[in-house]
Protein backbone atom coordinates (compact mmCIF):
# COMPACT_ATOMS: atom_id res chain seq x y z
CA UNK A 1 0.00 0.00 0.00
CA UNK A 2 1.56 3.23 -1.09
CA UNK A 3 -0.88 5.72 0.35
CA UNK A 4 -2.63 5.90 3.64
CA UNK A 5 -6.03 7.30 4.39
CA UNK A 6 -6.11 10.98 5.29
CA UNK A 7 -5.66 11.27 8.97
CA UNK A 8 -3.85 8.01 9.42
CA UNK A 9 -0.53 9.75 9.78
CA UNK A 10 -2.00 12.68 11.63
CA UNK A 11 -2.09 11.07 15.04
CA UNK A 12 1.50 12.07 15.66
CA UNK A 13 1.23 15.46 14.06
CA UNK A 14 1.09 18.64 16.11
CA UNK A 15 -2.29 20.32 15.64
CA UNK A 16 -2.34 23.49 13.62
CA UNK A 17 -4.90 26.25 13.66
CA UNK A 18 -7.41 25.91 10.84
CA UNK A 19 -9.89 28.61 9.93
CA UNK A 20 -13.43 27.52 9.20
CA UNK A 21 -13.89 27.75 5.45
CA UNK A 22 -16.54 30.46 5.86
CA UNK A 23 -14.15 32.65 7.89
CA UNK A 24 -11.93 34.40 5.40
CA UNK A 25 -9.24 36.95 6.26
CA UNK A 26 -8.90 40.01 4.00
CA UNK A 27 -5.85 42.23 4.22
CA UNK A 28 -6.06 46.02 4.19
CA UNK A 29 -3.29 48.59 4.15
CA UNK A 30 -3.44 49.39 7.86
CA UNK A 31 -5.44 46.50 9.30
CA UNK A 32 -7.23 43.37 8.16
CA UNK A 33 -10.57 41.73 8.82
CA UNK A 34 -11.81 38.20 9.21
CA UNK A 35 -15.14 37.96 7.40
CA UNK A 36 -17.43 35.35 8.91
CA UNK A 37 -19.68 34.72 5.93
CA UNK A 38 -21.91 32.31 7.80
CA UNK A 39 -22.62 34.63 10.72
CA UNK A 40 -22.60 37.66 8.43
CA UNK A 41 -20.16 39.64 10.52
CA UNK A 42 -16.51 40.65 10.57
CA UNK A 43 -13.81 41.37 13.12
CA UNK A 44 -10.76 43.54 12.73
CA UNK A 45 -7.37 41.91 13.10
CA UNK A 46 -3.82 43.23 12.88
CA UNK A 47 -1.96 42.70 9.65
CA UNK A 48 0.49 40.59 11.62
CA UNK A 49 -2.26 38.09 12.34
CA UNK A 50 -3.29 38.17 8.68
CA UNK A 51 0.28 37.23 7.82
CA UNK A 52 0.17 34.32 10.25
CA UNK A 53 -3.11 33.09 8.82
CA UNK A 54 -2.01 33.38 5.22
CA UNK A 55 1.75 32.96 4.88
CA UNK A 56 2.12 30.62 7.83
CA UNK A 57 -1.09 28.64 7.47
CA UNK A 58 -0.48 25.00 8.33
CA UNK A 59 2.38 25.72 10.71
CA UNK A 60 2.25 24.88 14.39
CA UNK A 61 2.26 27.61 17.01
CA UNK A 62 5.79 26.64 18.01
CA UNK A 63 6.94 26.98 14.41
CA UNK A 64 5.23 30.36 14.04
CA UNK A 65 6.77 31.67 17.26
CA UNK A 66 10.16 30.50 16.09
CA UNK A 67 9.74 32.24 12.73
CA UNK A 68 9.33 35.53 14.59
CA UNK A 69 12.32 34.79 16.80
CA UNK A 70 10.10 34.44 19.88
CA UNK A 71 9.81 38.21 19.91
CA UNK A 72 6.00 38.13 19.79
CA UNK A 73 5.13 34.94 21.69
CA UNK A 74 2.64 36.77 23.91
CA UNK A 75 0.86 38.45 20.99
CA UNK A 76 0.72 35.21 19.03
CA UNK A 77 -0.93 33.45 21.99
CA UNK A 78 -3.36 36.36 22.21
CA UNK A 79 -4.14 36.03 18.51
CA UNK A 80 -5.04 32.36 18.69
CA UNK A 81 -7.11 32.90 21.84
CA UNK A 82 -8.98 35.64 19.93
CA UNK A 83 -9.61 33.37 16.94
CA UNK A 84 -10.94 30.60 19.17
CA UNK A 85 -13.07 33.02 21.18
CA UNK A 86 -14.77 34.27 18.04
CA UNK A 87 -15.07 30.73 16.69
CA UNK A 88 -13.17 31.53 13.55
CA UNK A 89 -11.41 28.17 13.54
CA UNK A 90 -10.20 25.16 15.44
CA UNK A 91 -7.13 23.06 16.10
CA UNK A 92 -6.66 20.22 13.70
CA UNK A 93 -4.03 17.61 12.97
CA UNK A 94 -5.61 17.13 9.58
CA UNK A 95 -6.01 20.59 8.01
CA UNK A 96 -6.03 19.14 4.50
CA UNK A 97 -9.43 17.66 5.25
CA UNK A 98 -10.84 21.21 5.33
CA UNK A 99 -10.39 22.79 1.90
CA UNK A 100 -11.12 26.44 1.18
CA UNK A 101 -14.49 27.49 -0.20
CA UNK A 102 -14.80 27.75 -3.94
CA UNK A 103 -15.39 31.47 -4.49
CA UNK A 104 -16.32 31.13 -8.15
CA UNK A 105 -19.52 33.12 -8.71
CA UNK A 106 -22.09 32.03 -11.26
CA UNK A 107 -25.76 32.62 -11.74
CA UNK A 108 -28.18 31.44 -14.41
CA UNK A 109 -30.05 34.77 -14.49
CA UNK A 110 -29.05 37.30 -17.13
CA UNK A 111 -30.17 40.07 -14.79
CA UNK A 112 -30.37 39.48 -11.04
CA UNK A 113 -31.42 42.92 -9.85
CA UNK A 114 -33.04 46.04 -11.21
CA UNK A 115 -33.93 49.60 -10.31
CA UNK A 116 -37.04 51.31 -11.59
CA UNK A 117 -37.24 55.05 -10.98
CA UNK A 118 -40.55 56.87 -11.05
CA UNK A 119 -41.51 60.51 -10.72
CA UNK A 120 -44.63 62.53 -11.50
CA UNK A 121 -43.56 62.81 -15.14
CA UNK A 122 -42.96 59.09 -15.68
CA UNK A 123 -45.04 57.30 -18.29
CA UNK A 124 -43.90 53.76 -17.64
CA UNK A 125 -45.72 50.73 -18.93
CA UNK A 126 -45.17 48.75 -15.74
CA UNK A 127 -46.62 45.54 -17.15
CA UNK A 128 -44.23 45.57 -20.11
CA UNK A 129 -41.17 46.43 -18.00
CA UNK A 130 -41.92 43.82 -15.36
CA UNK A 131 -42.57 41.14 -17.99
CA UNK A 132 -39.23 41.83 -19.63
CA UNK A 133 -37.40 41.81 -16.31
CA UNK A 134 -39.06 38.51 -15.55
CA UNK A 135 -37.89 37.08 -18.86
CA UNK A 136 -34.37 38.08 -17.93
CA UNK A 137 -34.65 36.24 -14.62
CA UNK A 138 -34.58 39.31 -12.39
CA UNK A 139 -34.89 38.36 -8.71
CA UNK A 140 -34.74 41.66 -6.87
CA UNK A 141 -36.33 44.97 -7.79
CA UNK A 142 -36.00 48.37 -6.21
CA UNK A 143 -38.77 50.83 -7.12
CA UNK A 144 -37.93 54.43 -6.24
CA UNK A 145 -40.76 56.91 -6.44
CA UNK A 146 -39.35 60.39 -6.01
CA UNK A 147 -42.71 62.09 -5.80
CA UNK A 148 -45.66 62.03 -3.43
CA UNK A 149 -47.34 58.72 -4.15
CA UNK A 150 -50.89 57.50 -3.94
CA UNK A 151 -51.72 53.97 -2.91
CA UNK A 152 -53.34 53.47 -6.30
CA UNK A 153 -50.09 54.25 -8.05
CA UNK A 154 -48.10 51.88 -5.85
CA UNK A 155 -50.70 49.18 -6.41
CA UNK A 156 -50.40 49.62 -10.17
CA UNK A 157 -46.67 48.96 -9.97
CA UNK A 158 -47.00 46.05 -7.57
CA UNK A 159 -49.83 44.47 -9.51
CA UNK A 160 -47.56 44.29 -12.54
CA UNK A 161 -45.08 42.31 -10.46
CA UNK A 162 -47.60 39.96 -8.93
CA UNK A 163 -47.10 36.90 -11.09
CA UNK A 164 -43.46 37.04 -12.08
CA UNK A 165 -40.38 35.39 -10.63
CA UNK A 166 -39.29 38.36 -8.55
CA UNK A 167 -38.33 37.36 -5.05
CA UNK A 168 -38.03 40.76 -3.45
CA UNK A 169 -39.26 44.29 -4.02
CA UNK A 170 -37.83 47.27 -2.15
CA UNK A 171 -40.17 50.21 -2.35
CA UNK A 172 -39.23 53.86 -1.83
CA UNK A 173 -42.11 56.30 -2.03
CA UNK A 174 -42.70 59.96 -1.33
CA UNK A 175 -44.97 60.61 1.62
CA UNK A 176 -48.60 61.27 0.91
CA UNK A 177 -51.66 61.26 3.17
CA UNK A 178 -52.65 57.79 2.02
CA UNK A 179 -49.38 56.15 3.00
CA UNK A 180 -50.30 55.39 6.58
CA UNK A 181 -48.67 52.48 8.45
CA UNK A 182 -51.90 50.51 8.25
CA UNK A 183 -52.20 51.07 4.52
CA UNK A 184 -48.60 50.07 3.92
CA UNK A 185 -48.96 46.98 6.08
CA UNK A 186 -51.96 46.06 4.00
CA UNK A 187 -49.92 46.59 0.85
CA UNK A 188 -47.18 44.34 2.18
CA UNK A 189 -49.72 41.65 2.99
CA UNK A 190 -51.28 41.92 -0.47
CA UNK A 191 -47.87 41.69 -2.10
CA UNK A 192 -45.65 39.26 -0.21
CA UNK A 193 -42.73 40.02 -2.51
CA UNK A 194 -42.28 43.37 -0.78
CA UNK A 195 -39.28 43.15 1.49
CA UNK A 196 -38.99 46.78 2.55
CA UNK A 197 -40.90 50.04 2.31
CA UNK A 198 -39.24 53.39 2.91
CA UNK A 199 -41.37 56.53 2.82
CA UNK A 200 -39.35 59.67 2.28
CA UNK A 201 -40.35 63.32 2.81
CA UNK A 202 -42.36 62.24 5.86
CA UNK A 203 -43.25 64.84 8.51
CA UNK A 204 -41.44 62.79 11.16
CA UNK A 205 -39.02 59.93 11.33
CA UNK A 206 -40.61 56.67 12.31
CA UNK A 207 -39.52 53.04 12.21
CA UNK A 208 -42.33 50.54 12.42
CA UNK A 209 -41.66 47.18 14.10
CA UNK A 210 -40.88 44.57 11.43
CA UNK A 211 -43.92 42.62 10.28
CA UNK A 212 -44.07 38.93 11.03
CA UNK A 213 -42.93 38.25 7.50
CA UNK A 214 -39.80 40.33 8.07
CA UNK A 215 -40.97 43.33 6.02
CA UNK A 216 -39.78 46.66 7.42
CA UNK A 217 -41.65 49.94 7.03
CA UNK A 218 -39.79 53.14 7.70
CA UNK A 219 -40.67 56.83 7.49
CA UNK A 220 -37.83 59.27 6.84
CA UNK A 221 -37.86 63.05 6.83
CA UNK A 222 -35.24 63.38 4.09
CA UNK A 223 -36.53 64.43 0.71
CA UNK A 224 -35.29 62.07 -1.97
CA UNK A 225 -36.17 63.62 -5.25
CA UNK A 226 -33.54 62.27 -7.60
CA UNK A 227 -31.16 59.32 -8.09
CA UNK A 228 -28.31 61.44 -6.77
CA UNK A 229 -28.96 60.13 -3.27
CA UNK A 230 -27.43 56.77 -4.20
CA UNK A 231 -23.80 55.72 -3.98
CA UNK A 232 -23.21 55.98 -0.25
CA UNK A 233 -20.34 53.89 1.08
CA UNK A 234 -20.67 53.23 4.78
CA UNK A 235 -20.47 50.26 7.19
CA UNK A 236 -24.27 50.32 7.35
CA UNK A 237 -24.32 49.26 3.72
CA UNK A 238 -21.71 46.53 3.94
CA UNK A 239 -23.00 43.12 3.03
CA UNK A 240 -21.14 40.28 4.70
CA UNK A 241 -22.37 37.13 3.08
CA UNK A 242 -21.08 34.42 0.84
CA UNK A 243 -22.83 35.57 -2.31
CA UNK A 244 -21.56 39.15 -2.17
CA UNK A 245 -18.08 38.07 -1.09
CA UNK A 246 -17.85 35.58 -3.95
CA UNK A 247 -19.35 37.98 -6.48
CA UNK A 248 -16.94 40.70 -5.37
CA UNK A 249 -13.90 38.59 -6.24
CA UNK A 250 -14.36 39.13 -9.97
CA UNK A 251 -17.39 41.37 -10.42
CA UNK A 252 -18.72 44.75 -9.45
CA UNK A 253 -20.83 44.42 -6.32
CA UNK A 254 -23.24 47.15 -7.41
CA UNK A 255 -23.55 46.92 -11.17
CA UNK A 256 -23.02 43.24 -11.93
CA UNK A 257 -26.16 41.82 -13.57
CA UNK A 258 -28.03 45.04 -12.80
CA UNK A 259 -30.40 46.85 -15.15
CA UNK A 260 -32.05 50.18 -14.46
CA UNK A 261 -34.86 52.15 -16.00
CA UNK A 262 -34.78 55.77 -15.01
CA UNK A 263 -37.77 58.05 -14.50
CA UNK A 264 -37.75 59.04 -18.19
CA UNK A 265 -37.62 55.43 -19.32
CA UNK A 266 -33.96 55.43 -20.27
CA UNK A 267 -32.35 52.02 -19.90
CA UNK A 268 -29.06 52.30 -18.02
CA UNK A 269 -26.65 50.37 -15.86
CA UNK A 270 -27.56 52.69 -13.01
CA UNK A 271 -30.01 55.61 -13.00
CA UNK A 272 -27.26 57.92 -11.76
CA UNK A 273 -25.20 57.28 -14.89
CA UNK A 274 -25.58 59.36 -18.01
CA UNK A 275 -25.23 56.67 -20.65
CA UNK A 276 -28.52 55.33 -21.98
CA UNK A 277 -28.91 52.16 -24.01
CA UNK A 278 -32.24 53.31 -25.38
CA UNK A 279 -35.66 54.21 -24.08
CA UNK A 280 -37.76 51.38 -22.79
CA UNK A 281 -40.67 52.59 -24.94
CA UNK A 282 -38.63 51.96 -28.09
CA UNK A 283 -35.99 49.41 -27.15
CA UNK A 284 -36.60 46.14 -25.34
CA UNK A 285 -34.60 45.39 -22.22
CA UNK A 286 -33.22 42.33 -24.05
CA UNK A 287 -31.93 44.51 -26.90
CA UNK A 288 -30.37 46.99 -24.49
CA UNK A 289 -28.68 44.15 -22.64
CA UNK A 290 -27.37 42.75 -25.91
CA UNK A 291 -25.54 45.96 -26.74
CA UNK A 292 -21.84 45.49 -26.60
CA UNK A 293 -21.04 47.83 -23.75
CA UNK A 294 -23.93 47.12 -21.47
CA UNK A 295 -21.98 44.62 -19.42
CA UNK A 296 -18.67 46.46 -19.64
CA UNK A 297 -18.83 47.72 -16.06
CA UNK A 298 -19.96 44.45 -14.55
CA UNK A 299 -16.45 43.10 -14.20
CA UNK A 300 -14.83 46.10 -12.52
CA UNK A 301 -13.99 44.57 -9.19
CA UNK A 302 -12.56 46.16 -6.08
CA UNK A 303 -9.12 44.66 -6.67
CA UNK A 304 -8.89 46.88 -9.75
CA UNK A 305 -10.06 50.12 -8.15
CA UNK A 306 -7.51 52.60 -6.84
CA UNK A 307 -7.44 52.81 -3.03
CA UNK A 308 -10.28 50.25 -2.72
CA UNK A 309 -7.79 47.56 -3.65
CA UNK A 310 -5.97 48.33 -0.38
CA UNK A 311 -9.13 48.36 1.72
CA UNK A 312 -10.03 45.53 4.07
CA UNK A 313 -13.73 46.04 3.30
CA UNK A 314 -13.33 45.49 -0.44
CA UNK A 315 -15.32 42.26 -0.67
CA UNK A 316 -18.18 43.35 1.58
CA UNK A 317 -18.57 46.86 0.19
CA UNK A 318 -21.29 47.52 -2.35
CA UNK A 319 -19.32 49.72 -4.68
CA UNK A 320 -20.50 52.73 -6.67
CA UNK A 321 -19.31 53.46 -10.22
CA UNK A 322 -21.60 56.43 -10.81
CA UNK A 323 -20.08 58.93 -8.38
CA UNK A 324 -16.31 58.75 -8.62
CA UNK A 325 -13.51 60.73 -7.11
CA UNK A 326 -12.16 61.20 -10.62
CA UNK A 327 -15.06 61.23 -13.06
CA UNK A 328 -12.71 60.54 -15.95
CA UNK A 329 -11.29 57.41 -14.36
CA UNK A 330 -13.65 54.45 -14.14
CA UNK A 331 -11.22 52.81 -11.76
CA UNK A 332 -11.20 55.56 -9.16
CA UNK A 333 -12.61 55.36 -5.67
CA UNK A 334 -16.29 56.14 -5.03
CA UNK A 335 -16.56 59.83 -4.28
CA UNK A 336 -18.98 59.28 -1.41
CA UNK A 337 -16.59 56.98 0.46
CA UNK A 338 -14.84 58.75 3.32
CA UNK A 339 -12.79 55.78 4.52
CA UNK A 340 -9.02 55.91 4.30
CA UNK A 341 -7.62 52.37 4.39
CA UNK A 342 -4.09 53.71 4.94
CA UNK A 343 -5.04 55.23 8.31
CA UNK A 344 -8.12 53.06 8.97
CA UNK A 345 -10.16 56.19 9.68
CA UNK A 346 -13.55 57.36 8.49
CA UNK A 347 -13.87 61.05 7.87
CA UNK A 348 -17.17 62.57 8.98
CA UNK A 349 -19.66 62.43 6.10
CA UNK A 350 -19.88 65.61 4.09
CA UNK A 351 -23.01 67.41 5.33
CA UNK A 352 -26.06 66.16 3.50
CA UNK A 353 -25.33 64.01 0.47
CA UNK A 354 -26.30 65.34 -2.93
CA UNK A 355 -29.84 64.44 -3.86
CA UNK A 356 -31.08 64.43 -0.31
CA UNK A 357 -32.17 67.49 1.55
CA UNK A 358 -33.99 68.02 4.76
CA UNK A 359 -37.43 69.49 4.48
CA UNK A 360 -37.30 73.23 4.26
CA UNK A 361 -33.58 73.32 3.62
CA UNK A 362 -32.39 74.99 0.45
CA UNK A 363 -31.45 72.67 -2.39
Amino acid sequence: MTTSEPGAASANREPVFTLFACCIPVQGARRSVVCDLQRQSFQFIPNGLYEILSEHAGKTVAEIKAIYGHEYDEEIDEYFAFLLHHEFGFWSSDPERFPALDLAWETPERITNAILDVDEGSRHDYGAILRQLDDLGCKALEVRCFHRCSLRELRAILEAARHGRLRSIDLLAGHGPELTPDALEGLAREHPRISRIVVHSAPERRQMPPLRTGVTIEYRTEVIDSPRCCGQIHPGYFVVDFETFAEGQKHNTCLNRKLSVDARGEIKNCPSMTRSFGNVREVSLHSALAQRDFAALWSINKDQIAICRDCEFRYVCTDCRAYLRDAADLYSKPSKCTYDPYTAEWQPPADVPAGIHTKGAPE
Binding site: G48, R167, S195, P353
Partner: protein
Protein backbone atom coordinates in the same frame (compact mmCIF):
# COMPACT_ATOMS: atom_id res chain seq x y z
CA UNK B 1 9.96 38.92 6.74
CA UNK B 2 9.11 40.04 10.23
CA UNK B 3 6.24 42.34 10.90
CA UNK B 4 5.25 44.15 14.03
CA UNK B 5 2.58 42.18 15.84
CA UNK B 6 0.10 44.66 17.21
CA UNK B 7 -2.00 43.92 20.24
CA UNK B 8 -5.67 43.24 19.64
CA UNK B 9 -6.41 45.66 22.48
CA UNK B 10 -5.56 48.57 20.22
CA UNK B 11 -8.59 50.73 19.44
CA UNK B 12 -7.98 50.02 15.76
CA UNK B 13 -9.30 46.51 16.23
CA UNK B 14 -12.39 47.23 18.28
CA UNK B 15 -15.60 46.05 16.63
CA UNK B 16 -17.76 48.74 15.07
CA UNK B 17 -20.53 49.93 17.32
CA UNK B 18 -24.17 49.83 16.29
CA UNK B 19 -24.08 53.61 15.88
CA UNK B 20 -21.09 53.38 13.56
CA UNK B 21 -23.01 50.96 11.39
CA UNK B 22 -26.17 53.01 11.25
CA UNK B 23 -26.91 54.10 7.74
CA UNK B 24 -26.16 57.73 7.12
CA UNK B 25 -28.80 58.58 4.56
CA UNK B 26 -32.29 57.74 3.60
CA UNK B 27 -31.54 54.14 4.09
CA UNK B 28 -32.18 52.34 0.87
CA UNK B 29 -29.50 50.02 -0.28
CA UNK B 30 -28.23 49.22 -3.70
CA UNK B 31 -30.30 46.28 -4.82
CA UNK B 32 -28.62 43.00 -4.06
CA UNK B 33 -29.85 39.59 -3.15
CA UNK B 34 -28.70 40.11 0.38
CA UNK B 35 -31.96 41.24 1.79
CA UNK B 36 -33.45 38.01 0.61
CA UNK B 37 -30.68 35.95 2.10
CA UNK B 38 -30.92 37.64 5.46
CA UNK B 39 -34.65 37.31 5.55
CA UNK B 40 -34.58 33.68 4.61
CA UNK B 41 -32.14 32.85 7.32
CA UNK B 42 -33.83 34.61 10.18
CA UNK B 43 -37.49 34.37 9.27
CA UNK B 44 -39.43 31.85 11.27
CA UNK B 45 -42.40 31.30 9.05
CA UNK B 46 -40.96 30.48 5.69
CA UNK B 47 -41.75 27.46 3.64
CA UNK B 48 -38.21 26.18 3.57
CA UNK B 49 -38.42 25.04 7.19
CA UNK B 50 -41.28 22.74 6.32
CA UNK B 51 -40.72 19.29 4.97
CA UNK B 52 -43.33 19.05 2.27
CA UNK B 53 -42.65 15.38 1.61
CA UNK B 54 -43.54 14.40 5.11
CA UNK B 55 -46.55 16.50 5.87
Amino acid sequence: MKKRMESLDDKLFRPLTAAQQQRITAGFTPVTDTAITLRETYGEAHDYIRDGDNE
